[in-house]
C-alpha cells in the first residue's frame, strides 16, 4: 500500500480503506455524532440536509463502480447481496429520521429559548376525530408499505443457498444482520460477556431508562437542549455501539472475521498476527520488568483490582465530583444503577481502545478450570 496512488482513485481508495478501519471508524463516528448534535440547528436545515443525503448517495454510487486503477467488485458484491438490502434500507431510513427528529428538536429549542411552548404544544388543545384524520393516514401507510413489500418481493427473490451441511463451514459465517453487533463484540470479549451478559444488560438498561431518567422536561415532544445527556447516551449506544457495528460486521468483516477496508478484496489467506497480551503481563513484565507470578490469583490481582475500582470506587468518585448534582437528584440507588450501567457501556469502547493501543486481551483471566472467568 502506498500513500499516494498513481491515479486519484487509488489515493481515494487507500484513504477510504484506512479510515474505515475500526481504529479510525469509531473515533470519527463519535466525533461526527457529537458534531451532529452540537450543530443540529445548522445542518438540519433542509437544503444542507438534503445536500448531505445526495452526497452520501453519490458516494455509494461511486463506490459501486470501477474507476481507472481501482477495482470495486468486493463492495459491489457486498452491497448487492439480497440479504444486505435491509441494511441499506435501515441506514437510509435512519439518516432521514435522524434528520427529522433533530430538525424538529432544534426548531422546538429555538421556540423554547424565546419562551414559547414547543410546536407540539401549540396545537395541544386541538383534538381531531380519529376517523378520518388518523385512520386514513394509517390506511395510506399500510398501502404504501404493502406496495413496497410486493415490489421488493417481485424484484428480489429470497435467497436460498446450498442444502444445510454441518460438515462444511462457510467462511465467514455470520449471524443474522441484526445480531452482528454482538458478533463484533466477540472480537473484544469472550462469549459469556459478548453473547450473554452484555445483551442481557442491554435489555435491562433499556427497560431501566424511564426509571433512571428523572428529567421531567422533554416529555412528548422533540427537543435536544432540554435532555442533552440522555439523548447523547442513547444515541451513543444505538448508533455507535449497535448500528455502526452492524455496518462494520456486514461490509468490513470478511473471511476469518478479519477486517477488510471498504474497497479491499476479501482475501481468504489474510492472516492477522494475534499477539494479544493480558493485563497481568503488562503489569508484571512490561511495567515491573519481572516475571508473571505462578499463582493465578496473585497474577490476576492487578486486573481484579482494576475491575473492582472501576465498578465501585469510580462511581463514588463520580458521585463526589462531576456527578454531584446528578447524585443529589437521583438518590443513591438510582445513581448506582445508572452509573454502573453507563460504566459497563463505556467499558466496551474502552476495551476496544485498549486492544488497539496495547493489544490487550484480558483484564482478568482466571483460567482455573472450575472458575474459567475472564473479562
Amino acid at each position: 500500500m502506498h500513500l499516494i496512488g498513481s491515479t486519484i482513485f487509488e489515493t481515494i481508495d487507500y484513504w477510504a480503506n484506512t479510515l474505515t478501519n475500526p481504529t479510525w471508524l469509531f473515533p470519527i463516528s463519535i466525533v461526527l455524532l457529537i458534531l451532529s448534535l452540537r450543530y443540529a440547528h445548522v445542518w438540519t436545515r433542509p437544503p444542507i440536509a438534503i445536500g448531505i443525503g445526495v452526497f452520501l448517495a453519490a458516494l455509494v454510487a461511486y463506490s459501486c463502480m470501477d474507476w481507472p486503477g481501482v477495482d470495486h467488485s468486493q463492495f459491489r458484491e457486498s452491497i448487492t447481496k439480497a440479504d444486505n438490502l435491509p441494511i441499506i434500507i435501515i441506514l437510509t431510513l435512519l439518516y432521514i429520521t435522524y434528520w427529522i427528529s433533530l430538525r424538529k428538536a432544534s426548531l422546538n429549542d429555538a421556540r423554547i429559548a424565546q419562551g414559547k411552548p414547543p410546536l407540539e404544544a401549540s396545537e395541544k388543545s386541538r383534538k381531531v376525530l380519529v376517523w378520518p384524520d388518523l385512520v386514513y393516514t394509517e390506511l395510506i401507510a399500510m398501502v404504501v408499505c404493502t406496495a413496497i413489500l410486493i415490489l421488493w418481493s417481485v424484484a428480489v427473490p429470497a435467497p436460498i443457498e446450498e442444502p444445510a451441511n454441518i460438515a462444511r463451514t462457510p467462511n465467514p459465517s455470520k449471524a443474522p444482520w441484526y445480531f452482528l453487533g454482538l458478533q463484533e463484540l466477540l472480537v473484544y470479549f469472550d462469549p459469556w460477556l459478548a453473547g450473554v451478559v452484555l445483551p442481557g444488560l442491554i435489555m435491562v438498561g433499556l427497560i431501566a431508562i424511564p426509571y433512571v431518567d428523572r428529567n421531567p422536561k422533554g416529555n412528548g415532544y422533540y427537543t435536544l437542549r432540554e435532555r442533552k445527556m440522555a439523548i447523547f447516551v442513547f444515541l451513543f449506544g444505538f448508533l455507535i455501539l449497535w448500528v455502526l457495528q452492524v455496518f462494520l460486521g456486514t461490509f468490513l468483516r470478511g473471511p476469518g472475521w478479519n477486517f477488510f477496508g471498504v474497497y479491499e478484496y476479501w482475501d481468504h489467506n489474510k492472516i492477522e498476527p494475534l499477539e494479544n497480551i493480558d493485563i497481568s503481563e503488562i503489569f508484571y513484565v512490561n511495567i515491573l520488568g519481572g516475571y508473571e507470578p505462578d499463582s493465578v490469583w496473585v497474577r490476576e490481582l492487578p486486573g481484579i483490582a482494576l475491575v473492582i475500582i472501576y465498578m465501585t470506587v469510580l462511581p463514588l468518585v463520580i458521585a463526589r465530583t462531576v456527578g454531584k448534582k446528578m447524585f443529589r437528584e437521583l438518590g443513591a440507588i438510582r445513581f448506582g444503577i445508572v452509573v454502573n450501567l453507563a460504566l459497563i457501556m463505556a467499558a466496551v469502547p474502552l476495551k476496544m481502545v485498549a486492544r488497539w493501543l496495547f493489544n490487550l486481551k484480558y483484564v482478568v483471566n482466571l483460567d482455573i478450570p472450575e472458575i474459567n472467568l475472564n473479562i
Partner: protein, 259 residues
C-alpha cells in the same frame, strides 16, 4: 345511479345489521365508527392533532403491527407447504421457488420480517427522541423493549427454517454463545461450581445450549424446536404483549404529547 345503489344498499336490513350507524359524514357518525367497530376500537374517538401527525410518529409502531399481521398471514400460507423435517425442509422451500408460478409468499415473508425489524427499531428511536417513555408511560416502554426482543427472536428462529447453509451456520453462530452462559453453559464461567466430586452436572449434553438446540449441534431436532418456537410460542407471547402494549397506550393517555 351509483348514489342510488349505495343508498339502497345502506337501507337494507343486512347492511344495517353490520353497520349500526349512518355513513361517516357527520361528526356523530364518525365517532360511532370508532366506537362500534371492534378493530377500530383500538383507537380513541378523538386524538391530539399534533400526536397523529406523520412527521411526529413516522407511523412506525402502526407499521410494525401491520407487518406482524402480514407475517402471520404469509406464514400460515407457507405452513401449508413446508414440513419441518431435515429430509424435506430444503426441498419444500425449493419447490416453492421452482413450482409456484409468480409465487412471492416466501419473499414477502422474508423481506417483511426484515422490514419489521427495521420498523421496530425506528419506532423505539422515535419514542426515545420524543421522550415518550417518561411518566406515565414507563411501564409501556418496558413492554416495548420485550416486544423488540421478541421480534428479533421471531426473525432469528425463522432464519433456520429454509435449512440451507446460511440458515444452519447463522443459527450455529448465534446459539454458540449459549455454551458460554455463566454457570449453566458447559464452557461458561463458574460452570465448575455445579460439580460434585467427579460428577459434572453441566455438560455439553444438558446445558442451556443443549436445551435451545435439542442437541449438541444444529440438527433435525433443532429444526422442529425452532419451527414450534417460530410459529406458535413466540407469536403467542408477542400477541399477548401487543395487547398489553396497545391497551396501555390508550390507558396512559394515548399518543404522547407535551404535558
Amino acid at each position: 345511479m351509483l348514489k342510488k345503489v349505495s343508498d339502497y344498499l345502506r337501507g337494507t336490513q343486512v347492511w344495517k345489521s353490520i353497520f349500526r350507524h349512518g355513513p361517516p359524514t357527520t361528526a356523530r357518525n364518525r365517532a360511532m365508527v370508532m366506537l362500534a367497530n371492534v378493530f377500530l376500537h383500538l383507537h380513541p374517538v378523538r386524538a391530539r392533532s399534533s400526536g397523529i401527525r406523520l412527521s411526529f410518529t413516522w407511523c412506525m409502531g402502526g407499521l410494525t403491527f401491520f407487518l406482524f399481521l402480514v407475517e402471520a398471514v404469509t406464514g400460515i400460507l407457507l405452513m401449508f407447504y413446508y414440513r419441518p423435517v431435515a429430509a424435506s425442509a430444503y426441498t419444500d422451500i425449493m419447490a416453492l421457488r421452482e413450482d409456484v408460478p409468480l409465487g412471492i409468499m416466501r419473499e414477502i415473508h422474508r423481506w417483511g420480517a426484515h422490514l419489521m425489524v427495521i420498523t421496530v427499531w425506528l419506532h423505539m428511536f422515535r419514542v426515545f427522541m420524543t421522550g415518550s417513555y417518561k411518566p406515565p408511560r414507563e411501564f409501556n416502554w418496558g413492554i416495548g423493549v420485550v416486544l423488540l426482543v421478541l421480534t428479533l427472536l421471531l426473525s432469528f428462529t425463522g432464519y433456520l427454517l429454509p435449512w440451507d447453509q446460511l440458515a444452519i451456520w447463522a443459527v450455529t453462530v448465534g446459539t454458540n454463545m449459549a455454551r458460554a452462559h455463566p454457570v449453566i453453559g458447559h464452557e461458561g464461567p463458574l460452570e465448575g461450581i455445579l460439580k460434585f466430586e467427579d460428577v459434572d452436572f453441566v455438560t455439553s449434553g444438558n446445558d442451556i445450549r443443549y436445551a435451545l438446540l435439542a442437541g449438541r449441534f444444529v440438527g433435525e431436532a433443532t429444526l422442529l424446536r425452532f419451527y414450534v418456537l417460530h410459529c406458535i410460542a413466540v407469536p403467542v407471547m408477542a400477541m399477548v404483549l401487543m395487547a398489553v402494549h396497545f391497551w396501555r397506550v390508550r390507558k396512559d393517555g394515548g399518543i404522547s404529547g407535551p404535558l
